[in-house]
């Protein structure tokens, strides 16, 4: 009986971190999407200068552990701009995810036959118009499976924002395990919640994949 009481209290306490985790993940994915698509466009269709900028971003950010980026954003940049831990953590995570997403979209852009770009240009579209109305709709569909994988990775990387004091699922599990001295129970609950969140994410993305599948 006591075990169930502990379980319920532990569960309720950690559950409050779920919204924080979802918030961090959503912001990071959105920011990463903007960075990723922009950088992939620059990489594939930009002039040599833009290509270099995008390549440097991708290489450097992917070489640096996400937790370091979070630290830099929260402790160094925040000297000038007062970012809350939540925003510093989410933006840093998004900035990092953008590099991985740029690789996903670069592959997707390259997978669209180059003849389509040439044809679009030949009928008088500008590069941006062609990307917007011809390339991107196809590339987005091609990118979706890999992007779904990245989404689950970002969901799990959201645990890293606890280093700047964001009380997401993992930090709450630590707090409760310190109090109750039952780490197994606390981290099992955390594991369960991550499992549910990950399954939910993959289900939603699979629905998107089906919904927007190209009818060949």
């Amino acid at each position: 009986m006591e075990f169930f009481q502990n379980l319920v209290t532990t569960f309720n306490f950690i559950l409050q971190g779920v919204w924080v985790t979802i918030g961090v993940t959503a912001v990071a994915l959105a920011v990463g999407l903007v960075f990723g698509v922009t950088m992939a466009m620059a990489r594939v269709y930009g002039n040599p200068f833009l290509q270099t900028v995008a390549a440097i971003y991708s290489v450097i950010v992917r070489a640096v552990p996400v937790v370091v980026i979070i630290f830099i954003l929260f402790f160094v940049i925040a000297r000038f701009v007062n970012l809350s831990p939540f925003w510093a953590g989410s933006l840093a995570l998004g900035f990092a995810s953008g590099a991985y997403q740029s690789e996903i979209f670069r592959g997707a852009f390259r997978a669209v036959p180059p003849g389509q770009m040439i044809a679009a240009r030949a009928i008088g579209m500008s590069k941006l118009q062609a990307i917007q109305s011809i390339i991107l709709p196809q590339a987005a569909r091609l990118a979706l499976p890999a992007w779904g994988n990245e989404a689950t990775l970002v969901l799990k990387d959201s645990t890293l924002v606890f280093v700047v004091g964001v009380p997401e699922i993992l930090r709450r599990a630590q707090q409760v395990s310190a109090r109750t001295l039952e780490p197994f129970l606390a981290f099992s609950v955390a594991m369960l919640l991550y499992l549910v969140l990950t399954l939910l994410t993959t289900q939603i993305l699979q629905w998107f994949e089906r919904r927007y599948r190209l009818q060949m």
Partner: protein, 276 residues
């Protein structure tokens, strides 16, 4: 021409996006920027009407979070009492222990209370108040031990276990072995304190010397009894960390802590949390 303009716009957009996270936008209020100057930190806190204190809420009975999400523990009650005497509200922020010093350095928080000792390395980065609680050590023995201890030196001549590299080990070496009170082969150094506790419980050694609070916890688990709790073998105490150079804040906190030590407030809070 038009194409080039587009490309430039794209470039600028990309650069903006890149620098969004690194852009320096000086704002009117900079609660963080003041940490370097230090002077007037106390005035700032009073003007804000609150002091932001960082802790790592995973170390009961000093600091933890109860089931309702409130910060509880000895440090928490103490800092609230200090806030009362300062005449400001106390806002507590939870962070991993390793992030606390950086956070106070960068002015993210005004102070740290986290059962933290003022070590030399930390002292280079931040300032510390006077200790609000001295570290205490405990001598533990097996439940059936007939030993009686009134002072640390009563351990002389008995086999004793300590943790490698700790201040307790140094105390035993300096005060028992070097003075000839205990032969060197009666001192046993362990990798971990709980291993030493098991050997005491099994009767392989007679005594164990370690930090008092974990000792009490270990004693409960392994069925040892605490013979003596003492300050004289330990070094230093737990202090509040504040930004470097915040001299006015340090002076005021030192004064309040001294006052609370003298009038028994701290003693009372310690007892309320079962601390020796």
């Amino acid at each position: 021409m038009k194409k080039q303009i587009r490309m430039w716009m794209l470039l600028i957009a990309a650069l903006l996006a890149l620098s969004a996270c690194t852009a320096v936008q000086p704002t009117g209020q900079q609660p963080g920027a003041a940490s370097a100057e230090g002077s007037g930190k106390l005035a700032q806190i009073k003007a804000a009407g609150k002091i932001v204190v960082g802790t790592s809420a995973d170390y009961p009975p000093y600091e933890s979070i109860d089931a309702d999400g409130n910060f509880v523990g000895f440090d928490m009650d103490l800092i609230r009492a200090i806030g009362e005497r300062l005449g400001v509200e106390v806002e507590i922020v939870d962070m991993p222990f390793d992030s606390l010093i950086a956070a106070v350095q960068e002015g993210k928080i005004d102070a740290v209370i986290a059962a933290m000792q003022a070590t030399a390395e930390r002292d280079e980065k931040v300032d510390f108040t006077i200790p609000y609680r001295m570290t205490k050590d405990a001598f533990a023995a097996a439940q059936d031990s007939t030993l009686v201890m009134e002072k640390p030196e009563d351990a002389a001549g008995h086999s004793i276990g300590v943790q490698t590299g700790t201040v307790q080990e140094r105390w035993v070496q300096d005060n028992l072995v070097a003075t000839g009170l205990t032969p060197a082969d009666l001192v046993f150094s362990y990798e971990r304190a709980d291993q030493a506790a098991l050997d005491v419980a099994n009767g392989r050694i007679e005594l164990l010397l370690m930090d008092a609070e974990p000792a009490m916890e270990l004693a409960k688990q392994t069925g040892l009894k605490i013979l003596l709790i003492t300050e004289s073998t330990a070094e230093g105490g737990k202090s509040i960390a504040i930004p470097e150079g915040a001299d006015d804040l340090k002076a005021e906190l030192d004064r309040i802590i001294q006052e609370m030590l003298d009038d028994g407030t701290i003693q009372k809070i310690q007892e309320a949390h079962g601390l020796p």
